[in-house]
Structures are given as structure tokens and as C-alpha cells.
């Protein structure tokens, strides 16, 4: 418990532990909103962040979906990119070495269409030094199970995590990124933790559709898209809250609509030990480091001497400060 009294922002200890890996601060980029860091490095030093979470890497190169790929929505957006990317070979040849040269901490997000693809990706990454953690994007259609999304089925989700954990070196945490589009997120969370997930990332986008009243047709080329941005923040905070309450010892990375340091603090109070800044980067490419500096000020203003003291604080309503 922090002792009440003035704390200067510069005195706040921002270090955090992410499933056993220590990070200099709890602010990360969100997968799919920072590519592999290179473009954002024009606006701030990517090594200043706790970690850079890459866009989800698949086994093979991927063209992604036809345009239009995005629709602006109130305080958010829908995207339907379809995981366009270079595939694991291109990533390992170009993007990962660049991140390591820049002394950034890479959290590599992986995505697959089959269990075997996830396992193969884990093996490829497991043989590569320098990966801070693996984030598993399980919000993908399972081609071996009628295209149902892995993240929406506790058994399929667990099978993926178990396969990735088996082929990932011990010192590299495996983080499961969960979808909010489920009946009971605690149920899925427990299932992937039992399967070996070292931490949870919550939340991925919510499925949405936008229809153009002029054309009277769906806006997105892919019809459905993932909803992100500040509009989904309360849903994300709720998921973090529920899972932290059920499993207080499981590390959680909070993500969903973080725009300011106060938003980041909200996730930490709900139980997140780290946070990711995503869609807001499109609005403000400097957002990740801005949020970090604002978080420092918010913590100091509440006399937190260390960021980790704030984790889960909102659950302790009965404890006087």
C-alpha cells in the first residue's frame, strides 16, 4: 500500500513484470495498430515502450481482404484487413532483426488457420532469439472446425495455447489474446490458463457491420469487421475486471480503446499489469509514448510510487488509502 503524500511523476517506478519477464514500463502497442514498429519510430523511439507487439504473423504471406477495409464509427472504427502480412519468413528476415537492432522488446503476435499452423509458428519463433513474448491471436476462423473462431470455443482455444506453449522456450511467456464475443470470458480465460497460457491479453475487437445508407450495402469489402477504439473501452475494462476477480494471480494485459494515461490507469485499476495502445495510434501516432507520460502523471497524482501498486486496486474498495 502506498503511503499518502506527494509523489513526483519522475519518481514513479513504472517497471512491470509480464508473466515473469520484466519490462521497463507497462505501455505496449496493440497488435495490428503498429505494423512491426518501423513506421512509428519516425514519431518516437520504439525502445521507449514496454514492448512492441507486432501485427499478427501467419505462416505464409497473406494479401488480406479487398477494400474498403475500414469504416469510421462513433469513437471507433471497424476494420477488415484480413491479416495482410509477409508471413513468418519475411518477418524473421526483416522485421524482427530491425526491432532488435533498435533495442525494442518484440512481442510477436501469431495467427493461424489450423492448429498445425500455430504449432509451426511457435517452433519457428522458438528457434529465434530475442522474442520477449508470444501473443497468440486466437480470433481466427478454424478451417478444421467449420470456420468457427478458436477464441469462442474453450476447447479449441485451449488446444492452440497448449500447442504453442509446448513449442515455445520456457523463458518466453505465451500470452493468449481473448475475444470479447463470448458468453463467458472467465470460462475461456480459465481454459487457456489451464492449457499453459502465462498471461492473458484482453480484448480483441468486437465483431460488427456497418451499412452505407446511400448504397444500402455493407461498407466493408469483407462485410464484417472488428470494432475497436474508445467505444469498446468499457467492454474491455469489464473483461479485465471479471477475469482478474476470478484469477487474481494471472497476469493480464489490458487493451481496448486506450486514448489517455487516465484510460491506461483504468485498466490497471481493473487488474491489468500492462496495457496496449491500439486504434488511437491512427489518430495520434505519438499516442503510445504520450499515454506512458500521462500514466506516470496520473499515478503520481494518486500517490502511487510504483505502477504495480495500482494493479487491481479498484477491487480493493474496502481498503482505505
Amino acid at each position: 500500500m502506498s503511503v499518502p503524500g506527494p509523489v513526483l511523476p519522475s519518481e514513479v517506478d513504472l517497471t512491470t513484470s509480464l508473466a515473469g519477464v520484466s519490462l521497463p514500463n507497462p505501455v505496449l502497442t496493440a497488435s495490428g495498430c503498429a505494423a512491426a514498429g518501423r513506421e512509428l519510430d519516425q514519431f518516437f523511439d520504439v525502445a521507449d515502450l514496454g514492448a512492441v507487439v507486432t501485427k499478427s504473423i501467419m505462416l505464409d504471406p497473406r494479401s488480406g481482404r479487398p477494400t474498403p477495409r475500414m469504416a469510421e464509427t462513433p469513437s471507433g472504427m471497424l476494420n477488415s484487413i484480413g491479416l495482410q502480412g509477409p508471413g513468418i519468413d519475411g518477418f524473421l528476415a526483416s522485421d524482427l532483426p530491425w526491432l532488435l537492432r533498435r533495442r525494442a522488446r518484440p512481442v510477436v503476435s501469431i495467427a493461424g488457420s489450423t492448429l498445425g499452423e500455430y504449432a509451426e509458428l511457435a517452433r519457428r519463433l522458438g528457434n529465434t532469439p530475442g522474442v520477449t513474448a508470444v501473443e497468440v491471436n486466437i480470433s481466427c476462423p478454424n478451417l478444421e472446425n467449420r470456420g468457427l473462431v478458436f477464441a469462442c470455443d474453450r476447447h479449441q482455444a485451449a488446444r492452440v495455447i497448449s500447442a504453442v506453449r509446448r513449442d515455445t522456450p520456457r523463458g518466453v511467456p505465451v500470452l493468449a489474446k481473448l475475444s470479447p464475443d463470448v458468453t463467458n470470458i472467465v470460462d475461456i480465460a480459465e481454459s487457456v490458463v489451464d492449457a499453459g497460457a502465462d498471461g492473458l491479453v484482453m480484448i480483441n475487437t468486437l465483431l460488427g457491420i456497418s451499412i452505407d445508407p446511400e448504397t444500402m450495402r455493407p461498407v466493408l469489402g469483407g462485410v464484417t469487421g472488428g470494432l475497436s477504439g474508445p467505444a469498446i473501452r468499457p467492454v474491455a475494462v469489464r473483461c479485465v475486471w471479471q477475469v482478474h476477480q476470478a484469477m487474481p494471480d494471472v497476469p493480464i494485459v489490458g487493451v481496448g480503446g486506450i486514448r489517455t494515461g487516465a484510460d491506461a490507469l483504468e485498466f490497471m485499476l481493473a487488474g491489468a499489469s500492462a496495457v496496449q495502445v491500439g486504434t488511437v495510434i491512427f489518430n495520434d501516432p505519438s499516442a503510445p509514448t504520450r499515454v506512458l507520460e500521462e500514466l506516470r502523471v496520473e499515478l503520481a497524482a494518486r500517490s502511487f510510487k510504483a505502477a504495480r501498486e495500482a494493479v487491481g486496486f479498484a477491487h480493493r474498495g474496502d481498503v482505505p488509502r
Binding site: 495498430c33 513506421e39 477495409r69 476494420n79 495520434d284 501516432p285
Partner: protein, 287 residues
């Protein structure tokens, strides 16, 4: 010349009507001196809590590295939705978050050849800075400006000062020649012996310009106006099917690899699809 974009808080120096359009001048430190013709700026719309998260991208019309109030950039836009409506209501001294300059500029010819510059609607905006650069290199500049109606032409008077010849077309014939902006191109290319066409405007116009340049064996440089979320290369929303230098067809970001593409490199008819043979396209009967 400094390279790479900057993010700065710009201030409105002026906002004027220009026919159906708005002409916005922003004092934005560090942007103008980095700008080459064909590049664009991405503007945030609304305040820091704006519900409109996506940046609006605009071709840079003019970039002045120094002035009485500091470096400035100018853009021209039409009101299409809530974001551009917000921009159209700005007042002098209001703040606008500016990221720029972004994208690949127009490639310039090494020889002092004759060039035809084609602008559709406010797509003519980036052509005036380009005309200046071309004239510095000894190129003869001919402009063709087209629009649906007379009030949707931009810069017709300025073009007269800027170019050796100016041709104006409107769909309704209210100003200049009745017809499409591509109609006078074959004759103009023949008369002027031009070797390059530069174009900026709607996708359909760029497709038509590319077809003319292919038919007459001239080089074309087309600046696309694709909608974007970020403008800096991270969101992957602004992609087009483009054949790279390596001959591989990819869905290519128009913000980073564009907005200027060789007209012969873009599969104009396939925009909005994933054409067969695209790098990483689903094999067989995928979706």
C-alpha cells in the same frame, strides 16, 4: 532537405472558399521544408476527445517553408462528411494536429521534356507545386483541368499563370470543352510532343489517363485519393493492387508506397478486389 514526416500542432492562418471547395492554410512548423510535390498531410479532425478517430488525408497544394508566421502548408478539400464539415468550420488561429509530409512524391524527369498535368476536381491542387519544379528543370508544362461543373474546377486561373497552355473541360460544358478531362489528351500529346503525364483525381479518371498514356506510349505518374485511417503505413486500409519493381503484384499501401504510382503499375480495373496472382492471395476458391 530534411526527410520523413513530423507531427505538429498546426494553426489556421486562413480558410477561404474556392468555388465548391475550401482552401485551408495552416502554419505547421517543419512540414513545408520537407515537402515535395505529390506528398500529402494527414489531419486529425475534432478536439482531443473527438469521436472521429481517423485522420483525413489531403494532397499538399502549396508548401511555404518560411513566411511572416512561419512555415505553412495549404490544402484544398470538399465537404464529404462530418470530418471535412468540421474542417470547413475552422477559424483563424484554431489548432489542427498535422502529420506530414507523407508518401512518395511525383518522380521528376531527368531531361527537360514537355509534360501534361491532368487534374480532376480539387485533384489539381498538387499540380501547381509540381509545375514549378518542372519549369525549374526546363520542362514545358501543359495543364488540363476537368470537373463535373464549373464551380468544381480548382485553380483554372492560376493554371494560366503556371502553364504554357491550359485546357479546361466540364462534364456539363458550363466552362471550357464539354466532356471528360481525358478527351483532349490525345490531341494535346500530339501537338506538344509530351513524354510524361502527371495526374491527380478520382480513381476512374486516373484509370482513363493511364489508358491514354499506355495507348500513346507516354509515361504516367498518378496520385491516388484513396481513403486512409492513419496515413503513415500502419493501418493497412488504403491498399491497391500494384505491380512492384520486382514484377510481383501486391496489395500495396497508397500512403507509404504511393500516393503517386506509375499508371502502368496499378491494376485500375481490379481496385477493390484481390486479383488472381496477388502475392499471398488465398489459393483456389478462397474468399
Amino acid at each position: 532537405m530534411t526527410s520523413g514526416p513530423v507531427q505538429v500542432t498546426g494553426r489556421v492562418l486562413s480558410l477561404k472558399r474556392a468555388g465548391a471547395y475550401h482552401h485551408l492554410t495552416l502554419v505547421a512548423e517543419g512540414v513545408a521544408e520537407r515537402t515535395h510535390p505529390g506528398q500529402f498531410v494527414a489531419l486529425a479532425v475534432g478536439d482531443r476527445n473527438s469521436p472521429m478517430l481517423l485522420r483525413r488525408a489531403f494532397s499538399i497544394y502549396r508548401a511555404r517553408p518560411s513566411g511572416a508566421y512561419g512555415g505553412s502548408v495549404e490544402v484544398v478539400f470538399a465537404v464529404h462528411g462530418a470530418g471535412t464539415a468540421w474542417l470547413s468550420q475552422l477559424r483563424q488561429h484554431d489548432e489542427v494536429d498535422v502529420v506530414g509530409p507523407l508518401g512518395h512524391p511525383f518522380a521528376l524527369p531527368k531531361q527537360p521534356v514537355s509534360c501534361v498535368l491532368v487534374g480532376g476536381g480539387y485533384g489539381s491542387a498538387p499540380l501547381f507545386g509540381l509545375a514549378d519544379r518542372l519549369k525549374e528543370r526546363g520542362c514545358a508544362v501543359h495543364m488540363v483541368l476537368g470537373a463535373a461543373t464549373g464551380d468544381r474546377l480548382f485553380g483554372a486561373l492560376e493554371a494560366k499563370r503556371s502553364a504554357r497552355s491550359v485546357t479546361v473541360t466540364t462534364d456539363d460544358g458550363s466552362v471550357g470543352i464539354e466532356g471528360l478531362v481525358t478527351d483532349p489528351l490525345p490531341d494535346l500529346l500530339g501537338r506538344t510532343g509530351s513524354e510524361v503525364i502527371y495526374a491527380c483525381g478520382p480513381m476512374a479518371m486516373l484509370r482513363a489517363v493511364s489508358a491514354v498514356s499506355a495507348e500513346y506510349g507516354v509515361w504516367s505518374q498518378c496520385a491516388v485519393e484513396e481513403s486512409m485511417a492513419c496515413g503513415i503505413g500502419v493501418c493497412m486500409t488504403c491498399v491497391l493492387p500494384v505491380v512492384g519493381d520486382d514484377g510481383i503484384l501486391r496489395l500495396t499501401r497508397s500512403c507509404v508506397e504511393g500516393p503517386v504510382f506509375g499508371g502502368d503499375r496499378v491494376l485500375w480495373d481490379a481496385v477493390g478486389t484481390v486479383p488472381e496472382g496477388t502475392w499471398g492471395a488465398p489459393a483456389g476458391a478462397g474468399h
